[in-house]
């Protein structure tokens, strides 16, 4: 839509009233409930922790020094690995699915997509709980294995990294499939035909045309899966037991148990930092491929 902002228009008093009435409340609200809280976290990250919790307003870099402690770095690295594995699996499972949807007859595509999103609209905790029911020692999978005689003993699949990855994958897979579908759907079908016409077999076309052109979708989906995965503390707790501690758990503990808010602030900034890096990567990539869209 073209915005017609003529000079006469801009100077009219009604424009200023309109501006104030529309942008004012939202701007004010987000400043108060988003910008200020984030500023508070940044501030706290430079403060000392009080003896009984709380914050003492004495500037220090101590929290950052603690954050590069090997113990914490190991947890961060673990989180990145679990989040990364989740993202990779989501990509490997999600790509063929998204690709398949773009190849469905037109009238089936939307229902197929809605069916991908629908579970996402049910409660996240309940979806995680479903996996406890499935993977528990007394759960469905264990029972099924015993029924077919693969094992005599109850087998538990919970409380390891694998179950955490499965839980995160289950939670965020639709967030991978949607941007992938959007990217794949945007590819001009004439490009497939042109590739075939020039002598490329279907799998060659897939590698030389489809994959490179869907790269922005892969990046977007990976960010949508990776960022919430490493900040998640519910899945590691419910499905991982004490076996997998992730950054999310650590942050929660600093705020609700250890009451070391300044250190918790630093930890949460590490997630924000990771997210920023990924967003920059994405922006650079988008700039490079901008013309494709």
């Amino acid at each position: 839509m073209t915005k017609r902002l003529s000079k006469a228009d801009r100077s009219r008093p009604t424009r200023w009233v309109g501006r104030l009435l529309t942008l004012g409340p939202g701007g004010l609200y987000l400043t108060l409930f988003l910008a200020v809280p984030l500023a508070v976290i940044v501030t706290y990250s430079f403060m000392r922790r009080g003896t009984f919790g709380g914050v003492v307003y004495q500037p220090t870099l101590e929290n950052y020094r603690r954050a590069v402690d090997p113990l914490f770095l190991r947890i961060l690295w673990d989180s990145v690995r679990i989040g990364g594995l989740t993202t990779l699996l989501a990509l490997l499972i999600g790509y063929p699915a998204a690709f398949a949807i773009t190849k469905l007859p037109t009238r089936w595509r939307l229902p197929a997509l809605v069916a991908i999103v629908l579970p996402f609209w049910s409660n996240f905790l309940i979806r995680t709980y479903a996996w406890i029911v499935l993977l528990n020692r007394e759960g469905i999978l264990s029972k099924a294995l015993r029924a077919v005689g693969l094992t005599d003993e109850p087998v538990g699949f919970l409380y390891n990294r694998g179950s955490v990855v499965v839980g995160l994958l289950y939670a965020y897979l639709p967030l991978m499939i949607l941007p992938l579908y959007a990217a794949l759907d945007r590819i001009d079908p004439a490009l497939d035909e042109a590739s075939a016409d020039l002598g490329a077999k279907p799998w060659r076309t897939f590698i030389r045309v489809t994959v490179p052109l869907s790269l922005p979708g892969m990046t977007a989906g990976s960010i949508f899966v990776f960022v919430p995965s490493i900040g998640n503390f519910v899945v590691p707790e419910l499905l991982g037991g004490g076996q997998a501690v992730m950054v999310g758990n650590l942050i929660r503990d600093q705020f609700l148990r250890a009451r070391d808010w300044p250190f918790g602030a630093v930890l949460s900034l590490s997630i924000v930092g990771l997210m920023m890096i990924l967003l920059v990567v994405q922006a650079v990539q988008l700039k490079r491929t901008r013309a494709h869209a």
Partner: protein
Amino acid sequence: MPRFRRWLVFPLLGVYGFLYVPIVILAVLSFNESGLPTAWTGFSTKWYGALFSNDLILRGARTTLVVALGATVLATIIGTLLALGLERYSRSVLFDAFAIAPAVVPDIVLAIGLLAFYTMIQFTLGTVSVLFAHVTFNIAFVTAVVRTRLHNFDQQLEEASLDLGATELRTFFRVTLPLIAPGILAAALLSFTLSVDEFVIAFFTRGAGVETLPTVIYSMVRFGITPEINALAVVLLGLSFTVVVVSQRLIGLRRVVDNA
């Protein structure tokens, strides 16, 4: 013509299986008399009875309803105005980013930021603090949804109205608002659903003794298999599906997918 390669159905069916089998199992178990996944002891609706007489769950549901309704009303008003302002009166990319930021910032970061902020200004934690926190991220979603609606809106319609003698305010109520109403309604529904399901931010900003439905579910689930949860899952799924169907009627399936 692009030919559908038949083997492609298998990964697709695999994904649907992965997504739906756990949900279907919960739904089936909710009617299991024993309530346990170990054995089917007969069909029963007793867990639905237990669910609706569970005081903790009912109180949590009440709080959640208050939070979700309040947050939806506030976020819909603020977000719609913001969408209008961003489309009509602003060209600032920064303001655009600011308006979408609450949806992008990881929930745990927003949660502890708000907790720290509330504590600093000594705002009493409780239903109201959760409500205000939910308004924050809901604004981002409402703004995004209403903006897409405004974006596909022919501005000449407003100019026609002004030309025919209606003032700016009359034009807004007689032309703009009716035309973007479906978008606003969809945004409100989305906002309500997100709020009902939201756990992390509520968990941090609720304060002692206040429970929303998700925080109740959290404490129940932590103790392992709880049969009432199966029944609750079915009830909540039913509600979510209804919302999807209603919004589909209002704005078409395309938007439901785009907004998720």
